[in-house]
Point group: C2
Chain length 197, copies 2
DNA sequence: GTCTATAAGCAGATAGAC
DNA sequence: GTCTATCTGCTTATAGAC
């Protein structure tokens, strides 16, 4: 419509790029330091823009965080009960490979940022319900919860606590060791007399 | 030495009591909201004292936090390899019973407060080394790490994320379901071919 | 459209009155 | 010894100049 000299990128394209860059840097910082310790100023500095611009684009810090963690909701692949353990181990592989920064950002703040807590709780409940549905027996819910908790603990230990014993281990080795444990949880019989009573 | 009217509590006793009360309330708040969101003012308000008094006693917020989480380093009871699983399950019972507020305060901030992260990492490494020493085979370290991670995940899910599926379950039931899984991790053989390669 | 300047609020910490 | 009043610094957020 106008006589613009057709720049290589239109304004809206440039805007989108800048926005994406800010978001990427925000994810990094949220993943490193959590919600509270991450400042708009630091995000802006790392993205090479003015702090006011971040506010202009995202309105408020809450909103920036929400956008930064928005992507991350995974699903455990569907399937019959007999292949459950294999699918779980595949999930282990995924969780222990490269985790997307958006997930790490969410996990990092999950214990201290109420909204993040709720997000994680919902996500876990979803996985749990899904696994539960393919486990037989009346202990299904608890068994599913223990499986999810294990997955959870390993992911945390590796990516957020950086435990030496987990950090540099190939996912396949972990999956191999976890297989009998998951099998026991998913299919095994409960042993009574846990307390020696 | 002096003519004091022997009050029911000496000044130093009163002081110690007040200090303990502040510490207890601080633990509660740190456990609920984490380090960042807990303010000296809020601690003082809950303890019914003046904010300046808290500073007087503890000097700085960091120091208050350090004192609040100081107590919590547990040990997995010692013993030979053959009883390892039973000792682990006993630890489950402990971890799933009432957790001391100092532990919860530490755990709540473990992902976002660098000092807390380090504290937890050290504590976990200690447990890990201990368990590792009683597991045979060359996978000992990794197996121990997976056991600790599981314990960790369950504790977190129950006490900090308040997962419905874990919150109200008697520790004995959880221990019973966990036994075969721990046995598999502590004594079982690794199955190869985790990736289907 | 982008940035400068600044407002407004809240935190931890301090100095000094009582 | 305990509290009042305040300082200093840092944050998010806004208003307005360029």
């Amino acid at each position: 419509m106008e006589e613009a000299a057709t720049p290589r990128l239109t304004r809206s394209q440039r805007r989108r790029r800048t926005e994406e860059r800010i978001l990427a840097r925000a994810r990094e910082l949220f993943a490193e330091s959590g919600y509270e310790r991450t400042t708009i100023r630091a995000v802006a500095a790392r993205a090479g823009v003015d702090p006011a611009l971040v506010m202009q684009y995202f309105g408020a810090k809450d909103e920036l965080f929400r956008r930064a963690v928005a992507v991350s909701t995974e699903e455990v692949a569907d399937g019959g009960p007999e292949r459950l353990v294999e699918r779980l181990l595949a999930a282990v592989g995924v969780k222990l490979g490269e985790q997307p920064p958006s997930s790490l950002a969410l996990l990092r703040s999950m214990l201290t940022h109420p909204e993040a807590t709720e997000h994680v709780r919902t996500s876990i409940s979803g996985q749990l319900a899904h696994i539960q549905a393919t486990i037989p027996g009346e202990d299904a819910e608890l068994r599913a919860a223990l499986i999810v908790a294990t997955l959870f603990g390993v992911t945390l230990g590796r990516h957020l606590l950086d435990l030496d014993a987990l950090r540099d281990v190939p996912p396949e080795r972990i999956a191999a060791l976890l297989r009998p444990a998951f099998t026991a949880l998913a299919e095994g019989q409960a042993t009574s007399d846990a307390t020696g009573r």
